[in-house]
């Protein structure tokens, strides 16, 4: 009886689901429903099936370059990439078996055969997708010894270090630059074994050709692109990651401040952030020098004569209250106003507006709303 009711429930569930233009697919024996245009990778992720990949980033269009996400689909004679293949009705997918593992291992070996494999001194050790895959599949590149790239590290700008030798040509940097930032700073250049991401005519990155948003760094799965300012200051596992909201403008991007010994050493993306999905601009990613700057103003300053003199908060606030009160008494409420900064949070801006309207009883309130 119980079983029959369950069956009925299931069939009703499927009918309802199917009527909403959902389709049924099976991944590793798990039946699930998905939208018609969902890729296999997306559906697998949703139901908790892990498929390895290097060139996929949810901020980017599916690419199908690294080939690691290949899966077997029943009735198809060759493996298909999960990241670009859309699910179709009644598709039956196997994501892991001996032959797939062997093909993936081969691909990892090929990548490692043109990689310095200097994990011991690499910035990304512990946070490197290629390293993890090499560990998981138990392979190195030694079977396919041959020519390796031997190119110098490129540090032609203050923010981004580029070690071409560590590049695996996943194209994430070039795609984020062109699809998301639309800056067109870098693109794949050259052909065959010598193709690599680079600027036009291999020119150094300057403000003429690059926004220095560091988006390319944020998506690089290996140590090819790293934040220059944070190099040598600690690897991922040494750093405490503190999630915060950017204080530069009103957009409210989230990111992680990476802190070691009480000092911010770099900023990393939070790809789950609701506002920015991990995307940042130059200020959010690289404009954190002020935090530990010697010149940073840490207390209020009161101008006495020609000079600013450090003061306590109470002292400063009392002075402001006194001055505002006397001005309002003398010239009326409309004679004062407030101008808030877009570097304040929405809540702070709201408070100021409320304060001016209710305490000052003035409508003179504005915000720069720009940086």
């Amino acid at each position: 009886m119980k079983h029959a009711r369950l069956m009925q429930y299931c069939s009703e569930y499927w009918e309802e689901a199917l009527s909403e233009n959902k389709i049924k697919i099976t991944i590793n024996g798990i039946e699930t429903l998905c939208d018609r245009d969902d890729t296999i990778l997306k559906v697998a992720k949703k139901i908790g099936v892990k498929i390895p990949h290097l060139c996929n980033d949810k901020r980017l269009e599916p690419y199908g370059g690294c080939r690691l996400c290949i899966v077997e689909v029943k009735g198809v004679p060759r493996p298909l990439p999960a990241c670009t293949t859309p699910a179709t009705e009644n598709m039956e997918i196997i994501t892991d078996n001996d032959s797939i593992r062997k093909l993936r291992a081969n691909l990892i070996e090929l990548l490692l055969s043109n990689h310095p494999n200097d994990c011991m001194r690499c910035e990304r050790t512990g946070d490197c997708k290629l390293q993890n895959l090499s560990y998981e599949y138990g392979v190195d590149g030694s079977r396919f010894e041959g020519e390796k790239w031997d190119l110098p590290i490129r540090e032609d700008n203050p923010f981004i270090s580029y070690e071409p030798n560590k590049c695996i040509l996943c194209g994430r940097c070039t795609r984020i630059c062109n699809e998301v930032v639309m800056a067109g700073t870098i693109e794949l250049t050259g052909r065959g074994f010598n193709s690599m991401p680079d600027t036009a005519f291999k020119k150094p990155r300057t403000l003429e050709n690059c926004e220095f948003c560091g988006q390319c760094v944020s998506t690089c799965p290996t140590g090819a692109l790293t934040d220059r300012k944070g190099r040598g200051k600690g690897r991922s596992y040494d750093l405490k990651k503190i999630k915060t909201t950017c204080s530069y403008c009103g957009t409210g991007c989230n990111f992680y401040l990476n802190v070691r010994d009480g000092k911010v050493v770099k900023v990393t993306s939070d790809t789950d952030a609701p506002v920015n999905q991990g995307n940042l601009c130059i200020k959010g990613r690289y404009g954190y020098d002020f935090i530990h700057s010697e010149d940073r103003i840490k207390t209020p300053l009161i101008k006495i004569g020609d000079k600013f003199v450090e003061a306590a908060w109470d002292e400063a606030l009392d002075l402001i209250a006194e001055k505002f009160s006397s001005l309002m008494k003398k010239h009326g409420n409309e004679s004062v106003g407030a101008f808030s900064s877009s570097r304040c949070t929405n809540e702070e801006n709201f408070l100021l507006s409320k304060f001016v309207r209710t305490v000052f009883r003035s409508n003179n309130v504005d915000n720069c709303a720009r940086v």
């Binding site: 370059g65 690294c66 080939r67 493996p79 691909l107 090929l110 695996i168 040509l169 050259g190 193709s195």
Partner: protein
């Protein structure tokens, strides 16, 4: 024989001289030959405008080995001259045109007729006959009749006709053209596009170039038919910039077709608009792959993308697009005029019609041929191609260009069609056919093709970018005499994995030359690795040069040629090579006039 003066007047009316001025002809000096014909006729007192009328340029007729070729048609009697130079023209004009007796020793021989007689020419029929820069010449032979005819049909009827003909794409994959059109015509989205893929890149293949150079209007007509069938008002021709003559002729043809109302608005006085734009490729082999080609037209880096979605659903600018090869498109007018039934009567059950092949390599009659699908390889190589050069033994035939595979001589009787070629591990490809004899080293040959694909890989996917590089390194090591036990197995493992995991057709087929040569010539690989011998004596590093004492005439030429002082020689003494000092450069081998260096 009539008197000289009267003969000249009567004959000139019916005189036609056709000189082959395709790229091959031009390289052999056909423009000079044509000019010489003109000036010689003028010097015989014939008016300039008549000379202009009767001296015609045509496209390539296929037999490039004998260029410059020219037909002299006098009173409906055609004679063909071969290997012409401008110096020969005055005698031909004097003896043949003026006096009526052809210069027999310069006429084409039996191999010219053997080369042509076994062919079935549909596509190349008019190449070599009509002036490609004259739209009226094309119209005169029934050109644009196919395009005119389709407007009395519904687009779906046109698609059905092409479907019924069984025509398959001539670019390599062999997808049914009618089916491709149907998918695109049913796809949602507007506007739709039709693209002509003229980015012919296989080494040694030049059929698309020849068709465009010899009969550009057939391509335009094919595009009009395709455009009408799928509902596209715009067409692109994606053509390599390395084909300047083809581009020039296509431009002339497009502008002439516009003037006649065959392109532009309300073509053929119907309500249908259709126009064509030429997009010149920048010289990347990969741009022949349809999704890379689309990216290139869109102004992006030419890299393939994953399919699905197929271009028929999401192609150029994200709109439904059909991409057909030059050969496919220029076959269409004939199918429309002669009917699907006629076309499908040619060829085999699954491969219909004819296919153009570029036969090159160690074969007597190199050139461009068109044969019905299913013709045996033997007929192609021996009857049309005339067999191997110097009567050497045939070893293998490579079909499908760098992506194809080798067919060993033991399979010479196999039919040449899509299925049979796939079954043997090769492919039709664009129709390259390289003939190899026993002086070809199969390992070296595989290395050559693989180095081509490696250089032309776009770099997008891992197996093609690094995998082919590693295979190439292993092959190089083998040909350098440094092969190791297990190398063949490594090549097989890598090759199969590249085939399975690559993104596009280039990577999927790149290992074919290696895999098929291992399949049929594994012993050659083993000889290189285990015995340190190159059986075809091609791989220099594996050669050991010795002097045959019997053949040596003691001239000392090898001694003088040797750059590493490895040869000891004194007057009246046979030379001797010191193996320790020999750098295997082969200079002595080349220098010896008596073939005494072995």
């Amino acid at each position: 024989m009539p008197a000289k003066k009267t003969a000249k007047k009567a004959d000139i009316k019916d005189l036609v001289i056709r000189v082959c001025v395709g790229t091959g002809g031009l390289a052999a000096g056909s423009q000079e030959v044509m000019d010489e014909f003109g000036s010689q006729l003028k010097s015989h007192g014939i008016k300039a405008e008549i000379v202009k009328k009767c001296v015609n340029k045509t496209g390539c007729r296929g037999f490039c080995a004998k260029d410059v070729l020219a037909d002299v048609i006098l009173n409906d009697k055609s004679e063909t001259y071969q290997l012409l130079t401008p110096e020969m023209v005055s005698r031909i004009v004097e003896e043949h045109i003026v006096n009526g007796s052809p210069v027999k020793e310069w006429l084409v021989g039996p191999e010219y007729h053997a080369f042509h007689d076994k062919q079935t020419k549909i596509l190349l029929k008019q190449c070599g006959h009509i002036d490609p820069e004259d739209i009226d010449a094309y119209i005169k032979i029934g050109g644009y009749e196919g395009a005119r005819k389709i407007f009395s049909l519904e687009p779906s009827e046109v698609i059905e006709e092409i479907r019924a003909s069984g025509l398959r794409g001539r670019g390599g994959a062999g997808f049914l053209t009618g089916l491709k059109w149907e998918l695109c015509s049913k796809a949602e989205g507007s506007p739709k596009y039709i693209i002509c893929n003229a980015d012919e890149g296989d080494p040694g293949a030049f059929m698309d170039r020849s068709v465009i150079e010899g009969n550009p209007h057939s391509v335009i007509e094919g595009m009009v038919i395709g455009g009408y069938a799928i509902g596209a008002n715009y067409g692109y021709v994606y053509i390599r910039a390395e084909y300047p003559l083809a581009i020039q002729r296509l431009k002339i043809a497009i502008s002439d077709a516009r003037k006649k109302g065959f392109l532009g608005e309300n073509i053929f006085k119907t309500k249908f608009d259709f126009d064509i734009k030429i997009k010149e490729g920048a010289g990347a082999f990969i741009c022949g792959e349809e999704t890379a080609l689309i990216a290139s037209i869109e102004g992006k880096r030419g890299m393939p993308r994953a399919k699905p979605p197929f271009p028929a659903h999401k192609g150029l600018w994200g709109k439904p697009t059909v991409i057909n090869n030059v050969e496919t498109l220029s076959t269409l007018p004939t199918i429309i005029t002669q009917g699907a039934k006629w076309f499908s009567s040619i060829g085999t059950e699954k491969s219909k019609g004819t296919k153009v092949f570029a036969i090159t390599g160690k074969i007597k009659n190199t050139g461009l041929i068109e044969v019905p699908m299913g013709m045996s390889l033997r007929e192609i190589v021996y009857d049309i191609g005339g067999g191997c050069e110097k009567n050497c033994a045939l070893k293998a035939v490579q079909t499908g260009g760098p992506s194809g595979g080798c067919i060993p001589a033991s399979h010479i009787d196999m039919p040449v069609d899509y299925e049979s070629l796939m079954a043997i591990g090769s492919m039709m490809g664009s129709g390259g056919m390289v003939v190899m004899d026993d002086t070809t080293c199969m390992v070296d040959m595989a290395k050559f093709f693989l180095s081509f694909t490696q250089n032309e890989s776009c770099g997008k996917c891992t197996p093609c970018r690094i995998g082919t590089k590693r295979m190439l390194e292993i092959l190089t090591r083998i040909t350098n005499g440094k092969g190791r036990e297990g190398d063949i197995e490594l090549l097989l493992e890598l090759g199969n994995s590249i085939k399975l995991t690559s993104l596009c057709g280039l990577g999927m087929s790149a290992p074919n030359p290696v895999l098929s040569t291992i399949r049929f010539f594994r012993d050659e690989y083993e000889a290189h690795i285990r015995d340190g011998i190159c059986p075809a004596a091609v791989c220099k590093a594996l050669r050991i040069y010795t002097v045959s004492v019997e053949l040596c005439k003691m001239c000392g030429k090898c001694f003088k040629a040797c750059p590493s002082a490895a040869i000891a020689w004194e007057k009246k003494q046979p030379a001797k090579i010191d193996k320790g000092k020999c750098i295997k450069c082969g200079a002595c081998y080349e220098a010896c006039p008596f073939n005494a260096i072995l």
